[in-house]
Every structure is written in C-alpha cells, then in structure tokens.
C-alpha cells in the first residue's frame, strides 16, 4: 500500500466516527477549553469532508499545537504528568491530528492514539458497559482499517461499508477466543513501577474518625461497600460484624484511630492450620482510597501486601483505589488478646481530663454496685433497654458534653452514640474498652448466592476487655434496637417516614415490587460475576484458577499449552476458510448424501460419478423387492435436486424435504431387513 496516497473518503468516515466515539466517554473529564477545541476541530474536519473548507496551514497548526501544549502543562503539569494530563494530551493529539490527517501514513499515528485512548478509558471505568462500549469502538477501528486497505470499488457504497463492518465483526469474533486464552494464561505481574491514580476519586465509606452524626450520615447512602462470597453456608446476620477500624483515642467529642500503635502483629491468636471453627469467604471491595479492609473477627489473610495489625484489623500497604479482592479465613471462636499489655491497657482506659461529668458519675455508681467486670458491662447494656432510649438516623445535635447530653437528655441516637457512650462509661468504670467501626449485616443475592454490603450497613460497636476472655464484642445497638441486627439496617429505615423521603432511598421503595427487586439483584449479580471473574483476575486468582483447571503439578506446562491452543485456533481459521471454499449447503443434497453415505464400506458404496438417480437405480437392481419405491425416490430426488430452484427458506421445499427424509429412513430399514433375509 502506498503510504503517501490520500485516504479514501470511505475510510475517512469510519475514522471520524471512531474519533468522536473515542472522545465521548471522556467528555465529563475534559476541561472547557478542550471541549471547545473538540467542537472546532470536528466542525472544521466536517467542513473539509464536505468540501467547504480547506486543511489548516502550517502556521495555524503550529499555533494550535503550542496553545494546547501550554494549556495542558498549565492545568496538569504541576505534579508531574498525571494520568489525567496524559489523557487530555492524548485527546488533544487526536483532535489536532484530525485536522491534518490526509495521507495513509497519518493513519499509523491515529491508530496508535486510538488504542491508547481506549486503554485510558479503562483507567476510569471498567464496568460491563464501558467494556462493551470500548469493544464496539475497537470494532469500528478495525472496520476503518479494513476500508482503508480495500481497493475502492465503485459499486453500491452502503453495501461495501456494511461488508467492512461484517468482516471486522468476523475478525473480532475470531480474535475473542485468542484473547480469552491469553487472558487466562498469560502470567499476571505486580506493577512494575508505581503510578499516579486519577484524581477524581475521593475517600468513601467509613473514615478513621468518628464523631456523632458521622455514621448516620454514611448510613443514608445506598452505595455498595463490598460484596462477599462465602465458601460454605452464609452465617446468621448476628455474626456479620464486618470489623473495619478500632478507634481508641477520644478527645471529648470525636473518637479517632491511634496511628502510633499500628504495626504488623507479631504474635497470632490462632494457629493458621488449626481445626477451629472458621469461615472462609472472599470479598470484593469497592475502592475506598483507604488503607484498611473489612473482615469478621479474627481474620487471617495470606495475600501479598495485606497484613494484620495489633488490633486484628486487616491493612493494605497501598490505598484501595480500585476494586480489590481478598480471600479471608475468620476464626470466630478464638479469643483475642488474652493478655493485655500495660501500655495497651492504658490506651484502652484513657479518657479526657474533664467533660461529661454525669456519665463519669453514673459509671462510678455502677462500678460500686457490681464488682464483676462482666456483670457491670451487662448492666450498662441493659440500661439502654430499660431506660427510654430511641434508635434513630436523625438524632438531635449535641454540641458539648455530647455523651452526657445523649445519655441523660435526648436519649436519641444512632449506633455511634451508643457505642461512644458505652465505651466512655466502661473506661470511666475502669474496664478497657474501644470503639469498633465497620459494617453490620448484608443483603443476600440469591442469583449468585453472595452478600451485598451497602454503605447504609455502616455500624459502630464496642469491644471491652475482660480477664480470661480477652476482647469481647458488645453491641449496644442490639439492646436498643434488636431489629437492626436481626433484620438488617434497611428494615430500620423502612419503618422511618423521614428516611423514605430521602431520594437516596427511593430504591427501597422500588424493592416493594418483587420483579423490580429481582431485576436489581440480577443486575448486581451480573456485575458481581464481572468483578469476580474479570476485573479481579490477578496473580493470586489466576494461579488458583489455573491450578484448579489443570492441576498444580501441570501449571508449569501452561505456556506450551497456550501456544498450542493459539496455533490450533489459527489453524481452525485457516481450515474454516478452506472449508468454506468447497461447502455449499443444499438441504436436498445433504439429505441425499446422508442416505447414500450410509452405504459406504459396502459393495454398494457410491462412486464419484454416480448421481442420486443412478445410485438409486443401482440399488433397485440389487434389491428388486424394493424396486418401485427406489425408482419413485430416485425420480423425486432428481426432481427436487435439479428442478426446484433450491431455496431452503421455502416452506414447500421444507415439507417435501421432511417427507423425503422420512421416506429415506424407511427405505434404509427396508433394505436392511431385505439384506438380512437374503443372507
């Protein structure tokens, strides 16, 4: 192909549409000047295409290039070239190339830019939708390349274009199995160097600080926090306490995480291979931009980059910026920290110097009443039930001495109020205690049998340390509003008028219609499978999957298997196109051949020069008893094969064909019987 020939118009229209489709998904991320530039470039190009304008001169191009480069550097250049800046640069490159794209050699560049932009699209979204969209764009890129490489043919243009698309589709369909093999088998490697992440994401979910009202804020969100698949049975809702963070420091209003004491845990509370009761499950977490993971106590994870800290909380070395999958084993019956070090004990008892005097006083009173720590804790919990406490998503504001206000005045609060107040009182009574934040409960998706944990499942509870027992989980919410724990957070919200008016919960109302709910769950299960099988297919999952596929001992043969399969597929494509060569399906011929070939190997086998008619006549000679039927058949077949213009869609022919095939079947039975008699 001559590289400096002009691009044919038929190809150009494909390339232009590909460009538009490539830029479209990035529209929301594009700065205003780029959108303007895109408008100008596309309009100009369109004018060139219809012959109303000319290509821009060298000066115009130079100025445009300079302006775009400057604008990009000014806007994105600050922190080195971020991924956003790169994408903007790619887009503007595409747009400028659009204006000077004239010769075949320009397509080289355009092509490369197009595929890089496709890839950039995946950085921002890897949903099914975006996958399908990009696949379609890739199809159009192929179609544009095909139309570029075809010699112009001056027949009906539209049909030609459709043929380009059809060929591109065939190519794509053939490439998909190759892609699948490579996708499954090519070893996944951990990142070669660290990369900047797109800036659009901000931290979501539970944060490392808890002040009153924060979790109730979170609990109004219907976004998904993570999805869980259990290997065995799904445990009861009361067991589903997804521990996130342990908050130990209290400044009078806010509980926060103590960053000085975080470090990988040295001693374990369990033996990894112990036969103790354990839950096995895998979690796919939505990006949180945070460093910690959620799990049921006491978790054990064997995955690079994930470690257990002193608080039995799972931490990752790098923030979760993408969907993250991890497999956990939780030992539910293992006591945690039977021996509490002095410093840890002090931390778990520390309270501000002053503030909330009434709560401290109450704690002292109760301490006097109960000498046993556990009895004291129980008394404190049952106080939430016996007194008039309300569990509400919309508690009143409590500016100072929030715990006093909550405990004695408003007596309305959400889980963070109860957890904070209980921890405060336990500490005031001399029992080591801490606040735990995370999620509680989940929704079961019956289609794929997994659990969905939403942001509104966010929860806070308490852990208190008792001699000989270790850290013990105490949930005041379970005492105030047992429904919250047993039936889930959404039940609670349904009962609340105020919640239902919140637009974010419109979904809850929709769920009243069973089919809609089923549809929603179905969609989510689709997304879950996508996440589970496609997006979170990393080193670990790959190894596990391949081992389950071919057996652990044979994994090392995989590269060879992969190559063989690739070659096989390519050979199949070759064979397919060779086969297409000789095969044309005529139903009558096929039916006939089937019958005639059933004689192959016998002395009656068909010879090449025999048509159906001659063959049947020969049969008739050999089997005089079936002569009439054979003759009739021969006539009819000849008629059908050569007389009727063959059109398998024709209903008449279809009926005749069916009749013929039953007739032939009967004939072969008859012949078989006759042969048996004669022998």
């Amino acid at each position: 192909m001559v590289v400096n020939a002009v691009i044919p118009r038929t190809a150009l229209i494909w390339i232009l549409s590909v460009m538009v489709l490539l830029i479209l998904p990035h529209l929301t991320r594009m700065p205003v000047w780029l959108i303007v530039l895109a408008g100008v470039c596309l309009t100009w190009r369109w004018l060139i295409y219809i012959g109303r304008a000319n290509y821009p001169g060298r000066a115009v191009r130079a100025v445009a290039l300079f302006a775009v480069a400057t604008a990009t550097i000014v806007q994105y250049g600050g922190e080195g070239l971020s991924i956003d800046g790169t994408v903007i640069l790619l887009i503007s490159g595409c747009l400028l190339k659009l204006l000077e794209m004239r010769y075949r050699r320009d397509i080289y560049i355009v092509n490369t830019l197009a595929f890089l932009l496709l890839m950039a699209g995946f950085i921002y979204s890897q949903s099914i939708l975006s996958g399908a969209y990009n696949l379609m764009v890739a199809l159009l890129i192929l179609a544009s390349l095909i139309s570029l490489n075809r010699a112009p043919d001056f027949t009906d243009g539209r049909i030609e274009q459709l043929r380009n698309l059809r060929l591109a589709g065939i190519l794509m369909l053939q490439a998909l199995p190759l892609m699948l093999i490579l996708f499954v088998t090519v070893p996944r490697i951990s990142p070669l160097w660290s990369v900047t992440q797109p800036s659009t994401a901000s931290a979501t979910g539970v944060s490392d600080r808890m002040s009153p009202g924060e979790i109730s804020e979170l609990a109004r969100s219907t976004e998904i926090a993570f999805r869980v698949k259990f290997t065995g049975n799904i445990p009861s809702p009361q067991q589903l306490y997804w521990r996130g963070l342990v908050l130990e420091d209290f400044d009078g209003s806010t509980w926060s995480r103590n960053y000085f004491t975080i470090g990988p845990r040295q001693d374990r509370d369990y033996q990894s291979d112990s036969s103790q009761a354990a839950l096995d499950y895998s979690i796919i977490m939505e990006p949180t931009q945070q460093n910690w993971l959620y799990a049921i106590n006491v978790p054990d994870v064997n995955q690079p980059g994930v470690f257990l800290d002193n608080y039995n909380v799972l931490n990752v070395s790098r923030p979760v910026v993408q969907r993250f999958r991890y497999d956990v084993r939780s030992y539910t019956d293992v006591p945690s920290d039977l021996i509490l070090g002095q410093r840890a004990r002090n931390r778990a008892l520390r309270l501000p110097e002053d503030g909330n005097p009434r709560a401290r006083e109450l704690a002292q009173q109760m301490r006097a009443q109960y000498s046993d720590d556990r009895q004291l804790a129980n008394a404190m919990l049952s106080r939430f039930r016996t007194e008039q406490y309300f569990y509400t998503l919309y508690p009143p504001l409590m500016p100072d001495n929030s715990i006093d206000d909550f405990l004695f005045d408003s007596q309305q609060g959400f889980c963070e109020h109860y957890a904070g107040a209980l921890t405060f009182m336990l500490r005031a009574a001399g029992i080591p205690a801490r606040v735990v934040v995370g999620y509680q409960g989940a929704e079961h998706n019956r289609f794929e049998d997994y659990l969905i944990v939403y942001q509104y499942n966010a929860h806070a509870w308490v852990e208190a340390w008792f001699e000989g027992v270790g850290w013990q989980q105490l949930d005041p919410t379970a005492w105030v509003a047992p429904d919250r724990i047993e039936q889930g957070a959404e039940m609670l919200m349904r009962q609340n008028e105020q919640t239902l008016q919140d637009p974010a919960f419109a979904m809850l109302l929709l769920m009243d219609r069973p089919w809609l709910n089923a549809l929603r769950l179905r969609m989510d299960s689709l997304e879950y499978s996508w996440n589970r099988w496609v997006l979170s297919y990393d080193e670990t999952t790959q190894l596990a999957f391949l081992e389950s596929l071919v057996g652990a001992s044979r994994v090392k043969w995989l590269p060879a298997i992969m190559v063989v399969m690739l070659v096989l597929i390519l050979a199949a494509v070759v064979a397919g196109s060779m086969f297409k060569n000789r095969r044309r399906h005529d139903p009558v011929v096929d039916t006939c051949l089937q019958f005639m070939n059933s004689f192959s190997g016998t002395k009656l086998a068909r010879v090449p020069r025999e048509g159906a008619y001659t063959f049947f006549q020969r049969l008739a000679q050999n089997n005089p008893e079936c002569r009439d039927e054979l003759d009739a058949c021969a006539r009819d077949i000849n008629q059908m094969m050569y007389r009727s213009s063959m059109d398998s869609h024709n209903v008449l022919i279809k009926n005749e064909l069916r009749a013929l095939s039953t007739r032939l079947k009967r004939l072969s039975r008859q012949l078989a019987r006759a042969n048996k008699q004669s022998s």
Binding site: N111, L116, F122, I146, L148, D153, L182, L570, N581, R584
Partner: protein, 342 residues
C-alpha cells in the same frame, strides 16, 4: 555529504540483497507460464504499521500491569489476537490464486511492453486488494546512476470479489531490442488490516519481442521519395514531371524552373520522378559507417515507412535475406528479424 554517502551505501546493500534474492528465487521458483500461489511461494512479514500495532499493544499491556486493569489486559490480548489472525487472513488472501501471464505484443525499444496478467481464483473465497506489479528495474540503467537508488515500482490493484478472474495490464519499459524478458512479478497484499504484507515473486515467463527503435533516415534511393504523403509508388528520377519545390543549394541548374522565377515567384526546382520498380531491397550495407544498433534502427524506420506505403520490398541482412513482399505478415517477419538479429 555524509548522508549522501550513507544513502548510497544503503542502496548498494539493497541492490546486493535484491540480486541475491532474485538469484535465490530463480533457483527456487523457476519461470512457469502458470503459477498457483500457496505456502511454497508466499512470504509474509509484518508491515511498519503492524510493528507499530504490536508496540501499541505492548504499551497497553504495560499500562495494564501498572494500573492492574483487567480490561486493558483484555484489550492488549485482543490486539495480539487480531495481529495473529490477520497473519492468517493476509496469507489466505493470496493463497490459492492462480496467475497466468500472456506475452505482450511486440513493441519498440524504449517503449513499454504491455503484459496481460490473468488473476484467477477457483474457490468461493473473496480476494481483495491484490497489488500485482513489477519492480521496473529497466527504467534506470547504469547510465543514469543518479536515480538508481530507487526502483520504480508500478503495479495495479486486482480485486476478485464479484468475479472469478480479473486482468491486470502491466507496462514495463523495454530498453533494448531483442527478446525482452520481463522481471519477476511482485504480487502483494496487506488486506485486511495492513498489519502484515504477504507477497510472492512469481516468474510467469513473460516475454516480448522488442523491435529496434526507429530512427528517421533517408529512404533508399530506389524507393519512394522522402516524405511525400501520396500513395504513388515512385522514386526521384527524370522521366515524369512531379512538382516544384524550393530551391536548395546543390540542385542541378538544369532543373531550376526559370519560368516561375520570371513570374517572380522565387527560385524553384522542378522535380521529376521515375515510376518505382516495386522491388526495393533494404540493405544493411547502405548505412556503412554507422554502428550496428543505429543501422538496425534505420532499417526499422524504413520497413515501417515502406509497409505503410504498401509497396513490395525486401530486406537483406548479413546472412539473411527476405524476398520482396508486402502485407502485415511480411512486415512482422522483417521486424522480427531486425529485433533478433545479432
């Protein structure tokens, strides 16, 4: 200067390679009138665009590793898959094609010989955008070494989508008289995506007779007068009055038309002609002193002129003689003799 040397060096290497390659091909694929393209004579390599495509796919792969993007992995693998598949598709676009060459009609040295190539498929697979051509090595010779770096390529696109056969006409410059053997064909295609180029260099044994380049000269004394356009077969003589022409120095004084001069119409010479004897013999010896090729060129011119006038004439070459005759067949025979004489 430096770049010029380098370019010359590169072109030298390229020429060496081309020569070696052609030698190799002539051993491996000797000339045949009909060539069927298949695994034995199709070669395939990625194009520049193909390599760029692979590099792009590697870039996408690295990005996929670094950003841990499963779908980018998929994209990269899809590109790899497409790249591998187009190898097959491009190859299959040439595979099974039959090429048949037809010798060109004779031409004159320096003109282009036009060869007809029939491209044919016997199966139902559509073939498209097949570039059939020759590297026109003859258009540059040793004499013009300025432009010799680049082989002029001329080719035509053959499409076999609706029809089973198609014809391609290739014009190749024939520099010298004699039996001209067309260079090897170059049949190539980059269809469908332009990522691979499959090519084949069949030698269809294309030959063409090249007549000497006609060179204008006097017609032999015993033949028709110079450039008179009429069909009368006559030679300059002194029997019949033929006409007047402007006086040229050296004309015989006896032939000056004094009457016209007297009438004030300028100095004219009277021309007389003899009726032609119809048996002109074109002779090799009439151009003594000229070199061999020029002689043949002149003879060629004379043959053409005389046969256009439809007179009987013969030709005498050293060792060969053709009796006077006329007609298309005679003309062809003489020109052939001139072309092949050595």
């Amino acid at each position: 200067m430096d770049t010029q040397y380098r370019r010359r060096f590169l072109s030298l290497i390229q020429q060496r390679f081309e020569r070696w390659h052609l030698d190799w091909l002539s051993r491996r694929a000797p000339a045949q009138a009909l060539v069927r393209l298949g695994g034995r004579n199709i070669y395939i390599l990625p194009t520049g665009q193909g390599l760029l495509f692979v590099i792009t796919s590697v870039v996408v792969f690295v990005a996929a590793i670094n950003y841990a993007l499963s779908l980018a992995f998929a994209l990269s693998f899809l590109m790899t898959g497409v790249f591998l598949l187009t190898l097959v598709h491009t190859f299959m676009n040439l595979q099974g094609i039959t090429l048949r060459g037809h010798g060109a009609e004779a031409c004159f040295a320096g003109d282009s010989a036009v060869f007809k190539i029939i491209v044919q498929r016997d199966d139902k697979r559509i073939r498209e955008a097949i570039d059939v051509g020759v590297a026109d090595t003859a258009s540059h010779t040793k004499t013009d070494n300025k432009s010799s770096a680049k082989n002029k390529y001329n080719g035509q696109i053959a499409n076999l989508n609706h029809s089973l056969t198609t014809e391609v006409f290739l014009a190749v410059k024939a520099p010298q008289r004699g039996l001209f053997k067309a260079p090897r064909l170059m049949v190539k295609t980059a269809y469908p995506l332009g990522l691979w180029e499959a090519w084949s260099r069949p030698d269809l044994d294309l030959q063409c007779l090249v007549y000497p380049r006609p060179q204008v000269c006097e017609l032999p004394a015993s033949s028709g007068a110079g450039d008179s356009a009429d069909n009368l077969a006559s030679v300059p003589g002194n029997e019949d009055f033929y006409g007047l022409r402007n006086y040229q120095p050296g004309d015989s004084k006896r032939q000056i038309a004094w009457k016209t001069l007297a009438r004030g119409q300028g100095l004219k010479t009277k021309q007389f002609v003899d009726p032609c004897d119809f048996n002109v013999m074109l002779d090799w010896t009439q151009f003594s002193g000229l070199d061999l090729e020029t002689r043949l060129s002149c003879l060629c011119y004379q043959v053409l002129q005389l046969s256009a006038r439809d007179v009987d004439f013969g030709l005498r070459l050293p060792g060969q003689e053709f009796a006077p005759d006329r007609g298309e067949e005679h003309r062809r025979k003489l020109l052939e003799a001139l072309a092949l004489w050595s």
